[in-house]
């Protein structure tokens, strides 16, 4: 059974059709690239899956359940986590606290216990600290644990976002341009990281990315959309050699060069 399935999904903003009749499905354990030119509607697809926007038409199934009507919070709790194109960390909290925050459901103390600061609270907080450290180690941020999130350089902020998403214990992880602003070595390290977390946490991943080397390295399957519509959905070899993709994505001129 497929983990995620979009059936004829359409999203309109006023008169503008951002996503049009889009269908694709994703099996458990798959990693797929979602690519397309700027403004193709990639992030909108993420926003629809995570419930930030409601679909205008069509349905989205996650583990066979219709999640159209769910609010974002229950969708996250159901097992879909994401990162953001324009990094959205809790800036004034420390790196560690960013992770601790999203682990809040592991802390089974109540409000009265908090006010009295019972030993249970102290113990749970210590537990949360250890748990967050695990996630920070995965992305290699443990030495920055006490830095304020907004004091980190750009690349590390992206890693922290990935760690924060991991801490939500998702089954499906949506990565929105994780390599943006990274240099080639950093992107390479990111590829290794994504591969590692996918294996380690049994994740299914959709990756939006403009760095083609990252996409080609990671994703055996690529979904291309253009103007909100599905252009092609297939293996990376198929997509690489498809002329329409080259035209849409790289422009007419480059397509000719590449075609030769």
């Amino acid at each position: 059974m497929s983990l995620l399935e979009l059936k004829n999904v359409t999203k309109c903003f006023g008169g503008i059709v951002a996503v049009k009749d889009l269908s694709f499905s994703l099996n458990d354990g798959e990693i797929a690239g979602l690519i397309g030119p700027n403004g193709a509607g990639k992030t909108t697809v993420f926003n629809l899956i995570t419930g930030v926007y409601k679909v205008t038409e069509g349905i989205i199934l996650f583990e066979g359940k219709d999640i159209n009507k769910c609010d974002p919070v229950s969708i996250v709790r159901g097992g879909i986590a994401r990162t953001f194109q324009n990094i959205r960390l809790f800036n004034k909290l420390s790196v560690m606290e960013n992770i601790k925050t999203v682990l809040f459901r592991e802390a089974n103390y109540n409000f009265a216990q908090v006010l009295m600061k019972t030993p249970k609270v102290v113990k749970m907080e210590r537990h949360l600290t250890e748990r967050s450290m695990e996630y920070l180690k995965v992305v290699g941020l443990e030495q920055y644990a006490n830095f304020r999130a907004d004091s980190l350089p750009y690349g590390l902020q992206r890693k922290l976002e990935i760690a924060r998403a991991l801490a939500l214990k998702p089954k499906l992880l949506l990565l929105d341009e994780p390599a943006a602003g990274m240099n080639p070595e950093e992107s390479l390290a990111l590829v290794d990281l994504i591969r590692y977390i996918k294996e380690q946490y049994n994740l299914t991943i959709i990756l939006i990315e403009h760095h083609m080397d990252v996409v080609m390295e990671l994703c055996p399957r690529i979904i291309v959309i253009n103007f909100g519509e599905l252009l092609i959905d297939g293996s990376k070899e198929k997509v690489q050699s498809d002329e329409r993709v080259l035209k849409a994505y790289l422009g007419e001129e480059y397509a000719n060069v590449a075609g030769n």
């Binding site: 903003f13 992030t43 926003n47 930030v52 926007y53 953001f84």
Partner: protein
Amino acid sequence: MFLQTLITGLSIGGIYALMAVGYSLVFSILNFSNFAHGTIIMLGAYIGYFLISSFKLGFPFSFIGAIVGAALLALINVRLAYSPLINRKAPPLYLMITAMGVSIFLENMVYVTVGSHFYSFPEIFKQSTIKFFGSDISPLDLFALIFSFIAIFALHLFLTRTKMGTAIRAASYDMTVASLNGVNMNKLIGIVFILAGAFGGLAGVFLGVKYMVYPTMGWITNKAYIAAVIGGLGSLPGAVIGGVILGVLETFVSVYVSSVIRDVFSFSLVILFLVILPAGLLGKYLEEKV
């Protein structure tokens, strides 16, 4: 009785609309609630009052003086207090707090300098009333109502028919894009505040003539803000409709129910509106960009 109430309500609604326009103009481009607008209105009323009673300028010139004065104050307000925040792209909450600060500062400056006296405008219109289908209408109410709508219509023409107006409307959709297209944002923001201030001065004089001039008269402007919210913050027609609706409903409540609960009614109304229609009647409901 009914007709009388309706007409009183309409004339109050007209003044609300006039004030609400100022909130909406600023909100449409800067996306924050300018709580200092009420104070500008109050200062406009003071300027009008002193021009007419101390400087004996006569009504038309005092009227114009109040409008110009309030517009200038609004411009000074934005340049001194808001521009530093706008330039560093501070969040709207910070701008709102600043606006609160400006409002508290100016209102109490009036208290400590001018004092807490109530001033009333010299009689401009004869106290006589016009008979209209058996109801009494004061010429002042009629004048205020008509003048308010003329002014708002003129603003509408300015926004739709002139180059600057188009630029303002463009900026209200997307400030970044507008500035990329060569719109001088600083100048544009200045013009928006001058317009808002001018409307504030106008409303201030009407308020002062109708009621009195005193430091906390800005409290009434909170209801103009409510009117703007009901109509949909950032929408000009919304401000007008919201103002009229609030003015009429409120007058009916105070006549037929109790004048004590009039203000409480207005605030409950806005809460009800926000729950049912978060964007107001005509507001653009912005789904936050993620």
